[in-house]
Amino acid sequence: MLKPILLVEDDKRDLELTLIALERSQLANDVIVLRDGAMALDYLRREGEYAERAEGNPAVILLDLKLPKVTGLEVLQAVRADAGLRSIPVVMLTSSQEESDVLRSYEFGVNAYVVKPVAFDQFVSAIAELGIFWAVLNEPPPGSLKATRRNE
């Protein structure tokens, strides 16, 4: 069983387009979709609504920068501050090219920062590349490794 990809996105069109892109990239991972930062943190910490979910961290978090309630940057900060979550790769997906957003994301320890391209085919390929790199090829840090790799 592959670890799932956690997608945190509030815009339903972006969500649909991202899902189509992930589908086209032919990744076998499940995609768990959450619509805001607070839910994302509950899920990751197995709290509230997600207290009963099965153990295990996602392969990667695709995080929209602008989220209601708890922003992407705040989710990122919380993940990096939590010993149990720290090692999950986080990719920031955003419309913003603002230098300050990029800088702050990197300050908080983001693994990648992707500006969503306007053209759809470019968007598809960007998402596909991301998924393949972070969910499949990326070697997780030692210690966090569980026998959940695709080829096992």
């Binding site: 069109r13 972006d14 387009l17 419309s95 603002e98 391209p117 306007v118 759809f120």
Partner: protein, 741 residues
């Protein structure tokens, strides 16, 4: 008595208060104040009269004397068949009694009464200082019978200037002359304040030494400051004899506790004054002092009032305006009148605004720097070249300066100027001439013949009222300037806030607009891909338009975001060689449109510019891309890139042979989203030139455009030369592009 060997340079050190001797026209007793025991006495008491005199004193009001107070007349005392006018005073340690033979009064009226009856009313009528002093000189001469009577005033440097004179035939006239300050040494001036009357009845006198009861007592122990009989300096006696004067008398004119001047009388023959006349002389001196004081006060008050009025006018004028200090010179007559100046200048750092006759700008700036360096709020000089050597160059317009400093932080000064007045001063003797040394002895002042001196490098002096007015103006201006600074700070804060809001707005708009553009583009693609086969040709065309429109809107949003970012991003400036930059861009543009035949002419030597390399590239790319775009219809397309080198800076100019533009629209070219062509003719967001302008201006440079309709356009810019000493350049500065391989 042997005249002491003296060096005139030691005049200031001569112990004139404690000469240890008196003049022979009187006698002195020095007593212990409590016991009235004899401490010392003049050597001219006949044998046996000492005790009689001491006895006579016992019957008087001696114990009431206050130490340091002026002498008190004890009236006539008889001592061994002789009648004396006796005056007494106390020092800290001793009691002094001075005895002078009483003379029968001349006439039936004491001299002092005629002063009150005749002189005072005349004095009150006198309108000017000249009239006052002339009256006083005449009255003094009448009162004393001295051959010549002068009234003179000391200037700031201590030189005496003769204001009035009354002289008998045969006496030299000193009207308008000046006596050098060195004629009266420091301690003598101090004594003129303590003891305001002095008589030397006979310059040829032999001093009478004082004898002490206790041999241990020395001359230095007996302070004769207040004594009427005090023996004067032998130097002074020699001075008098040189002057042909055998008797002299002086009364101090004291105003506000300062020695303002002297009434000075001379006679060719010895002349004695009785007590009554002496008292009248002292009284006359006091009356004159009071009158001069009130006259000067009135003049000063009137002057102050007038100047304050002017200051108010200037300041109200300034507060009404929205401008800064430079507005001061907009109303020249007020400024000049305030300080009775012929020129004035306002200096703000390196800027100068002036009115009237002033030195040239560089000289004003140099002077302002020097004055600012002194660090005082107010500076004044009426002989500027003596303090500031470069002023000799412009003394014809500014030998005198009055300056106020408005800010200690910035160089903000206001200066008033007065031209040189060449004065001819008649000195009674050359004040600079070393005292002639004849026959091995140093003599004071052998020559009193007039000596004319031409004084240069001086202006009329600034009066205290004028300086006061400048100080008041300074206070008022500081108030105005401070208020203005506060207002500016408030405006700046508000601007900053508005700017932040605008940035946030454009950021949000650009950011949030990108998403819908992306969605449109995305869904259009999806429709085309999934339903493509079922769609008509026309529907495909429509979808194509939707996609193009979305893509264009996306570019526009990106451009807007770039533009907003360009205004905020910090410049990382270094020296950038523009030759490889231009060559690289030319290659890139050629690659983008391989089908076009463009004749590029790029100067072999392009300048190195001090700029942020990334932003500079954005600017140059915009100019080159524009040239390519707007010459598209030409065959061949010709684009020229030239170097611009000038005093204000270096830069580039890009010329094309394209569609050009009408010069009347030149101002619109650089505006955000301004286009001069219909969108279907030439693609683009219309923000490129706005970006170029913003980049160039953030570097402190300038942009320009020249165009001829249907013939082509030229766009250029220059950036300022790098500031010297600010060399953070990476790599070698290379002005010569030919070196670049």
């Amino acid at each position: 008595m042997q005249p002491p060997e003296v060096d005139l340079s030691s005049c200031d050190l001569e112990p004139i208060r404690v000469p240890g001797s008196i003049q022979p026209h009187g006698r002195m007793l020095v007593l212990e104040p409590g016991s009235l025991e004899l401490v010392a006495w003049s050597d001219n008491w006949p044998i046996g009269q000492l005790q009689a005199a001491q006895q006579a004193l016992r019957g008087t009001a001696l114990p009431a004397l206050q130490p340091g107070a002026r002498p008190v007349s004890l009236g006539a005392l008889r001592v061994a068949e002789e009648t004396f006018d006796v005056a007494a005073h106390r020092s800290d340690r001793h009691l002094f009694a001075e005895f002078e033979a009483a003379l029968p009064t001349a006439g039936n009226e004491a001299p002092i009464y005629s002063l009150g009856r005749v002189f005072l009313p005349k004095l009150q009528e006198a309108g000017t200082l000249e009239q006052l002093t002339q009256l006083a000189a005449a009255e003094m001469k009448r009162l004393t019978g001295f051959g010549r009577c002068l009234i003179y005033r000391f200037d700031a440097a201590g030189h005496g200037e003769v204001l009035a004179e009354e002289a008998d035939p045969g006496y030299d006239s000193y009207t308008g002359h000046r006596f050098p300050a060195s004629d009266i040494p420091q301690q003598a001036r101090a004594l003129y304040l303590v003891n305001q009357f002095r008589l030397i009845a006979d310059a040829g006198y032999t001093p009478v030494p004082l004898r002490a009861a206790d041999p241990a007592l020395t001359a230095a122990d007996l302070d004769l400051s207040q004594s009427q009989l005090r023996s004067v300096s032998p130097i002074h006696l020699e001075y008098m004899r040189n002057m042909g004067t055998l008797a002299s008398m002086s009364v101090s004119i004291v105003i506000d506790g300062k020695l303002w001047g002297l009434i000075s009388c001379h006679d060719h023959r010895p002349r004695f004054l009785d007590t009554g006349t002496r008292l009248a002389c002292e009284h006359l001196g006091q009356l004159l002092s009071l009158q001069i004081h009130s006259k000067e006060s009135n003049v000063a008050v009137a002057e102050r009032l007038e100047l304050r009025q002017l200051t108010l006018q200037i300041v109200s004028h300034l507060s009404d305006s929205d401008a800064t200090l430079q507005r001061l010179v907009a109303e020249p007559s007020l400024m000049l009148r305030l300080a009775r100046a012929t020129g004035a200048a306002v200096v703000r750092d390196d800027e100068v605004w002036s009115v009237g006759d002033v030195p040239v700008r560089a000289q004003v700036l140099e002077l302002a720097s020097w004055i600012a360096g002194i660090g005082t709020d107010v500076y004044e000089s009426s002989e500027l070249p003596a303090h500031f050597a470069p002023a000799a160059e412009f003394r014809d317009v500014a030998a005198g300066v009055l300056a106020i400093s408005i800010s200690q932080v910035h160089r903000h000064l206001i200066l008033w100027f007065r031209p040189e007045i060449v004065q001819t001063i008649q000195w009674a003797g050359n004040p600079q001439k070393p005292k002639a040394a004849a026959s091995g002895r140093i003599h004071p002042r052998l020559s009193f013949s007039s000596w004319a001196e031409e004084v240069r490098g001086r202006s009329a002096a600034w009066t205290s009222a004028e300086v006061g007015a400048a100080v008041e103006l300074r206070q008022a201006l500081i108030g105005v300037v401070l208020r203005r600074a506060e207002e500016l700070a408030a405006v700046a804060t508000e601007l900053g806030r508005v700017n932040k809001e605008l940035e946030a707005f454009s950021y949000t708009v650009s950011h949030d607009l990108r998403a819908p553009m992306r969605h449109i583009a995305g869904y259009v693609d999806l429709v085309a891909q999934t339903e493509g086969r079922q769609l008509s040709e026309r529907a495909h065309r429509y979808l194509g338009h939707v996609k193009d429109a979305a893509a264009f809107a996306g570019q526009m949003v990106d451009a807007l975001l770039d533009f907003s970012r360009m205004g905020r991003a910090a410049l990382k400036q270094r020296l950038v060689d523009t030759k490889p930059l231009v060559d690289g861009l030319v290659r890139e543009l050629a690659r983008l449109e391989p089908s076009r035949r463009i004749e590029w002419q790029v100067d072999a030597a392009l300048p190195a510019l001090y700029a942020d390399p990334l932003l500079l590239q954005v600017a140059v790319r915009n100019l080159l891309a524009n040239a390519v775009k707007y010459s598209r219809t030409r065959n061949p397309q010709r684009i020229t890139v030239r170097a611009i080198r000038g005093e204000l800076g270096n830069g580039l100019e890009v010329q094309d042979n394209g569609v050009g533009f009408q010069m009347k629209y030149v101002d619109k070219l650089f505006g955000v989203f301004q286009r001069l062509h219909r969108a279907e003719e030439f693609e683009g967001t219309g923000i490129g030139l706005a970006n170029v302008k913003r980049i160039v201006e953030r570097h402190g440079g300038t942009v320009w455009a020249k165009g001829v309709m249907d013939e082509g356009a030229t766009f250029g810019f220059v950036l300022p030369h790098r500031e010297p000493g600010n060399d953070h350049a990476v790599g070698t500065p290379r002005d010569n592009g030919e070196q670049h391989a």
